[in-house]
């Protein structure tokens, strides 16, 4: 993916005589439309992403709504210590990381494979049809999806009907802790693979058709072309998305967990966010939830930094 370079976009040649502020000044005059269009987004980010950040101080406070954020008493790291000492600390961390890692392992390649397969289809109409059908589930509400999953996995559900045919016993699948991750991740792939493939399909259209023609003349078959042209063509996009994804490694979709888990599957399904939900929101212990959220974000940020620097060294593609 090419970085949008505003300076080179509209004819200012990089002139070594100009200092940085001067370049920016000149660029502003040439590209002012772009700057004006950026203003609402900048305001949006300042208002909704940066301003509320001061609220994280309640992680170090004994927050009560009556007193408000600034008046509440400081308690230092008490919330963090409590979380680390919690009986379930190791379990929720382990579950979060494993669910994310497995999700990454199976879920991340799925849209890439789908995009490549779609790219190999030559009948436009059929391709469009498959594309539309595959990204439709993305628009179904999570509650409905989980209702469907619960129905399918129940004692007399569809999956059990199929399993019985090949000689298994009927059993509710959602009360088996060993199956939870499989159900969670595979349903995620079903829901999001089509949607995720759109960005790859977009990148695929940027690959120069001449490369394919040249390869055909050289006698390359389809598979060769995929390996040597298609994949390298979308590699930068893959890497950027992978880095971004790694920055969310400690975040798992909490609505879906809450809707699918039950005490029987806590063993594998209880993740940081669901634990915090039970603890923080249901009992309105905001300070504690904030502390855990902050801890989460710090680890995520660490992952992001590490993966970015590795990628910069290895493949020269990076976020910054």
């Amino acid at each position: 993916m090419q970085k949008p370079n505003l300076v080179s976009q509209r004819g200012i040649k990089k002139d070594k005589k100009l200092s940085k502020p001067q370049i920016i000044k000149k660029d502003f005059f040439v590209n002012y439309q772009v700057y004006i269009m950026a203003v609402p987004m900048v305001i949006f980010f300042i208002l909704f992403h940066y301003m509320p950040m001061y609220g994280i101080i309640i992680a170090f406070k004994d927050f009560t709504v009556g007193k408000g954020i600034f008046e509440s008493e400081w308690i230092g790291f008490e919330n963090f210590i409590y979380f680390f000492n919690s009986h379930y600390f190791t379990r929720v961390i382990k579950n979060t990381v494993l669910l994310s890692l497995y999700g990454l392992l199976w879920g991340f390649p799925a849209p890439i494979i789908l995009a490549i397969l779609l790219n190999e289809l030559h009948r436009e109409k059929f391709k469009r049809l498959v594309q539309t059908i595959s990204y439709l589930p993305h628009f179904i509400s999570m509650v409905v999806i989980c209702g469907i999953i619960i129905d399918f996995c129940s004692h007399d559900g569809l999956i059990n009907d199929l399993l019985v045919m090949i000689g298994y016993d009927r059993k509710n699948l959602l009360i088996n802790p060993n199956l939870f991750r499989t159900i969670y991740i595979s349903s995620n792939i079903w829901k999001e693979a089509g949607w995720g493939s759109i960005i790859y399909l977009g990148t695929l259209t940027n690959i120069d058709p001449a490369l394919y023609e040249a390869a055909t003349i050289d006698g390359a078959r389809r598979f060769r072309k995929i390996i040597h042209i298609t994949l390298p063509g979308i590699a930068p996009t893959i890497i950027i998305l992978l880095i971004l994804r790694l920055g969310h490694i400690m975040n798992t979709g909490f609505e879906k967990i809450i809707l699918l888990y039950n005490p029987m599957t806590y063993e594998t399904a209880d993740v940081i966010s669901s634990f915090v939900y039970r603890k923080g929101l249901v009992e309105s212990n905001y300070s504690f939830s904030t502390a855990v959220g902050l801890f989460n974000s710090a680890i995520n940020f660490g992952f992001l930094l590490v993966s970015n620097s590795i990628s910069r060294k290895v493949s020269k593609t990076s976020l910054w």
Binding site: I36, P40, V65, G66, Y88, I150, N172, N262, M264, S284
Partner: protein, 523 residues
């Protein structure tokens, strides 16, 4: 020259584009200000009614289907006529009640009256200390004769309407008497199936065992539907046979945590056996309310705990499929025949979320007087029965609800009278008490309510420690309960489970509850 011309056009166009992004917000603002103007106009129109209170209360789900605001209802109109007080109801968006309540408190600008006041973090004493709620003791003494009399007539009411520190802080929903506050949830069975298979209604656990097996052998898919979530937790179904409840119980002044007791093992053992024998729903751990209702109406279920308010609905829905479908209430089962039970689903005599008057209220005396009307005889009749002659008649001084209202209760509910709120209430005048429901209540009432925990209040310090302990304990108890029942964990490991609970600090949590109960009993 031409180029700058184009550039100016570009400039204008992009600015317009950006401005159009804000257009949405601006329109709303003008609308809002218009709405404000309108409401001020309204206020000035109502100058003849000099006193207006703002009243924050979550709108009841049933009411929300019929009106946008309680102020539109007939009872609110009539109440305003009689008391000369105009109430401006403010309803939070449903589903975000907790957040909006907390935001409201955090904002520092309170309405005059806050219902839902019980949810103040740290309790009512803290709210008074923080300067959010008013202490009402003195005001009630002077301005609320009916409420005062009511409190003094019943020691339980007195205890439940005051905090540990002796503050009266809210008006609650008070039941006229014990009989007017019957058990509203309990075991229910398919009457038609009992008759078809020639069974007697079971009263003991052994008889239940027998009947459920008969159901099973005759092809009833789910003989017993138990969810081990809220219905079981509040009804204490089956576990009351072992003199225990779902969670904390009050055994004559001593607090016990049921899942930490020795006999809890027997209850879990029974459930595990029933599950193994296929008497329980194989999907109970993942059943939500919707699928629960659907298996009941499809006639797959033999017995289940249910609230009496739901029976009519189940029967109505099921009869479209099977015209023989019928339900009946069953006594809470005991181990020995006619043994006394100590727990059932029972509300305390004072319930509701409490309506507190805030420090923003400029005329608290009048507000207290307004509330007091709901505890007077006239107020009682209006809020429980509606309008005399139209909805009820007085016979020997007792209200008799007209048959037409009884038959179409759901159409009238919330319109001619509120279903609940801070007033003196008689549940019998509100629910649809058909013969079947009366029969249910009579059977459920055979169990006692001795062990029910009263609404105790933890101090801020205690509640912090308590919730720190209990979130983890609850997680563990729920998890282990299911593991035991589903046979994933052998009951031989019960000792280990008890030890783990002890390690997690259950005894400290019990102690906290005990202290709070002691304070409550000493009020």
């Amino acid at each position: 020259m031409k180029k700058t011309h184009i550039n100016i056009w570009r400039f204008i166009l992009t600015t317009l584009l950006v401005l159009s992004l804000f257009a949405g917000c601006m329109k709303n603002e003008t609308k809002d200000s218009k709405a404000n103007e309108q409401s001020t106009v309204k206020d000035t129109k109502k100058d003849s009614k000099p006193i207006t209170f703002t009243y924050w209360v979550p709108i009841h789900g049933d009411a929300a289907a019929k009106m946008k605001n309680y102020g539109e209802s007939k009872w609110a109109e009539e109440l305003e006529k009689r008391t000369g007080v105009h109430i401006e109801y403010i309803h939070p968006v449903s589903g975000q009640i907790e957040e909006q309540f907390n935001l409201l408190i955090a904002s520092g600008e309170y309405p005059d009256i806050l219902e839902h006041a019980k949810k103040y973090k740290g309790g009512a004493d803290k709210a008074i200390e923080d300067g959010v709620y008013l202490r009402l003791n003195e005001l009630i003494e002077k301005h609320a004769p009916n409420y005062k009399k009511l409190r003094e007539s019943n020691p339980d009411v007195k205890r439940m309407t005051i905090t540990d520190e002796g503050n009266i802080w809210s008006f609650g929903m008070i039941a006229v008497s014990d009989e007017s506050n019957p058990a509203w949830l309990g075991p229910v069975m398919r009457k038609d199936l009992l008759e078809k298979f020639g069974c007697e209604a079971p009263t003991t656990i052994d008889e239940w065992d027998n009947v459920l097996h008969i159901f099973k052998n005759n092809g009833v898919e789910i003989p017993l539907l138990m969810d081990f979530k809220w219905r079981y937790e509040i009804s204490h179904c089956f576990i009351s046979a072992y003199d225990l409840g779902a969670e904390f119980i009050n055994v004559n002044g001593t607090v016990k945590y049921s899942p930490y007791e020795e006999r809890y093992k027997d209850f879990i053992g029974l459930m595990a056996r029933w599950y193994k024998e296929g008497l329980l729903d194989p999907d109970f751990a993942t059943r939500d309310d919707k699928s629960r209702n659907s298996v009941i109406t499809n006639g797959k279920v033999g017995a289940f705990p249910e609230a009496y308010g739901m029976l009519k609905r189940h029967i109505g829905a099921a009869r479209t499929i099977n015209s023989d479908f019928d339900l009946m209430g069953i006594e809470y089962p005991s181990l020995e025949k006619d043994a006394k039970l100590y727990l059932k689903q029972k509300n305390n005599i004072v319930t509701g979320n409490g309506a507190a008057i805030t420090t923003s209220c400029k005329n608290p005396e009048k507000a207290v007087e307004w509330f007091d009307y709901g505890y007077s005889k006239e107020g009682f009749l209006l809020l429980n029965c509606g309008f005399e002659g139209e909805h009820y008649d007085l016979a020997d001084g007792k209200p008799v609800i007209k048959q037409e209202i009884l038959d179409n209760y759901n159409d009238y509910k919330w319109i001619i009278k509120p279903h609940g709120g801070p007033f003196l209430r008689d549940a019998r005048l509100h629910a649809v008490f058909s013969d079947m429901v009366l029969d249910c209540v009579e059977k459920w009432e055979k169990a006692g309510g001795d062990y029910v925990m009263p609404a105790i209040q933890l101090t801020a310090e205690e509640s912090k420690r308590y919730s720190a302990l209990m979130t983890e304990i609850k997680t563990y108890v729920e998890e282990m309960r299911l593991r035991f029942i589903l046979g994933e964990e052998s009951l031989d490991n019960y000792e280990k489970y008890i030890k783990q609970l002890k390690k997690m600090g259950i005894e400290e949590a019990v102690e906290i509850q005990q202290k709070a109960l002691d304070r409550f009993l000493n009020r």
